[in-house]
Symmetry: C2
Subunit: 309 residues, 2 copies
């Protein structure tokens, strides 16, 4: 007997759309990844976009779908208001919003907000966070989700508490391709290697308390004076930025770190944390978001246990 999908899970961001059909245990039966992010889907309509992808995967008309990401922002499909920290699975679930005016049961997971003297928001990462917490069975510690806007969350007694955002990935892209450093990095923008000696050297500089702002131009100068290679320049820029992020995060938060990342990002941050002397575990980012979506779906639409037997 072919297993039937129990839920549709979607991570729908500004530039990316991902959809999985999973069975009642969370195992993936079908998968779709496209560039139908919010910006690309707005004209056609969000419901029409989602339905077409569901149809391609052969999903039945009444399959419930849970969505996380920027689809729940004010500029997205339907706004799901931020849930304030401290937050856990029940409080996040209580903030999910059902899309009105369509037959299918589609719900959007809200982001998290932090008010006060260090205002902050996340949207999409809260689902990765739930997945990582459940995968690792965590109650306390730090969860780091590196990326365009890296998030570091302190988990205390099972609740996501204070969190910080670092503009690391976005700043890397801007500096490598649009600042004066583009002359030093050129086509090596995607070639920052955690094994290049410049990566460790730059990281050490940041961990020793130097300010990133005063070290960036040194990449240009090292090219002019010492023939620093494009790969060396990329590794150095990456080390400066990730080093500044880790130096700040470890001042603010203590505990074992769980990194939620994949591919190159996992390699860069893994090496950086090891060089920083911090203990860490790695959780795959893709698996984490799927796990978070699945757990939310299975709480929203529980399946009788005998059907899973």
């Amino acid at each position: 007997m072919t297993p039937q999908p129990a839920y549709g899970l979607s991570d729908w961001g500004t530039s990316r759309f991902r959809l999985w059909l999973v069975d009642g245990r969370g195992d993936v039966l079908a998968e779709k990844r496209t560039d139908d992010g919010l910006d690309a889907s707005r004209a056609r309509g969000f419901a029409a976009t989602l339905e077409s992808h569901l149809a391609e995967l052969g999903a039945r008309d009444d399959l419930p779908v849970i969505v996380c990401g920027m689809a729940g922002s004010r500029q997205g499909w339907v706004e799901a208001n931020y849930v304030p920290v401290p937050a856990d699975l029940p409080s996040i679930l209580s903030g999910t919003v059902r899309i009105p005016g369509i037959d299918r049961d589609v719900r959007i997971i809200p982001g998290l907000s932090q008010s006060g003297s260090a205002p902050n928001v996340m949207r999409g990462e809260e689902t990765q966070l739930l997945g990582a917490i459940l995968t690792q069975n965590l109650s306390n510690g730090i969860i780091a989700m590196p990326g365009t806007h890296s998030k570091w969350v302190a988990l205390e007694n099972g609740k996501a508490n204070h969190f910080s955002t670092f503009l690391t990935g976005e700043l890397y892209a801007l500096l490598a391709s649009q600042s004066i450093l583009r002359h030093s990095i050129g086509d090596a923008v995607g070639a920052a290697s955690p094994d290049h000696p410049q990566f460790a050297a730059a990281l050490d500089l940041m961990l020793s308390g130097k300010r990133m702002l005063g070290e960036l131009f040194g990449i240009r100068a090292a090219m002019l004076l010492d023939n620093l290679s494009p790969e060396g320049a990329a590794a150095r820029l990456s080390g400066l930025l990730i080093g500044a992020e880790i130096a700040a995060a470890r001042m603010e938060k203590q505990g074992r770190v769980t990194i939620v990342a994949s591919g190159t990002m996992a390699a860069l941050y893994g090496r950086a944390l090891a060089l920083s002397g911090l203990e860490y575990d790695l959780v795959d980012a893709d698996e984490a978001v799927r796990k978070g979506l699945f757990v939310a779906a299975s709480r929203l639409w529980p399946i009788e246990q005998e059907r899973l037997a």
Copy 2:
């Protein structure tokens, strides 16, 4: 009797061209400011561009001209190799290069370089620096030249010694107009005011040891959660960046600060230094570069004192 020009002085950068005709005392007789930077002048030819501006100002054919700025870079007119620090007026003058193949005596002032573990270069600022040193009659202290790439120079016994570069101005422009913060700042990109409370608050945060990388996204969050205005966002970004610059510079260098700046930049840095508790003097950036060019010219082409009497 109409005073006759003794020298042409030019600050020739990547995007800007400035030319003054001055008499033997350095007083300005005529002035030209255009967008004929290097990029705009390359096709027409550097000599032709300079000659046309000199002709417009009525300069005689044998008026000697001194040039500083990126015109002396590898991508410029003729390369003037960097002079290593420690450097003073004589060592900088010894590195000037005469443009070959033209009748007029045109010389380019070299930039400064710093080798070793903190490689660095400047080109154009060395002339501002000479002007500021002479204007203020300095032998020791710190000279700060804020801008796209802010330079902080330690002056010791009359010589420019260790210097640092901060990507402050370039990062402000990139973040305000191309990062996620553009949604918070919008048209207020040029409206960062030193009197906005967000400027002082952000500056304090940086001086207290926080990392800029972890505070940038807070501008976006404060807009979403607390309705931070575009002007407030611009002032906060400016305070974070200038604060990070000053926090780093004051760790590295001690002494009274001379800021070389004009207009808004002078106002922002003046307020920032005052809030930092640092003592400072202000020298106008335009006057400083003209003074530096004039002093170089009058050493290269001395005029008999009786002619000035």
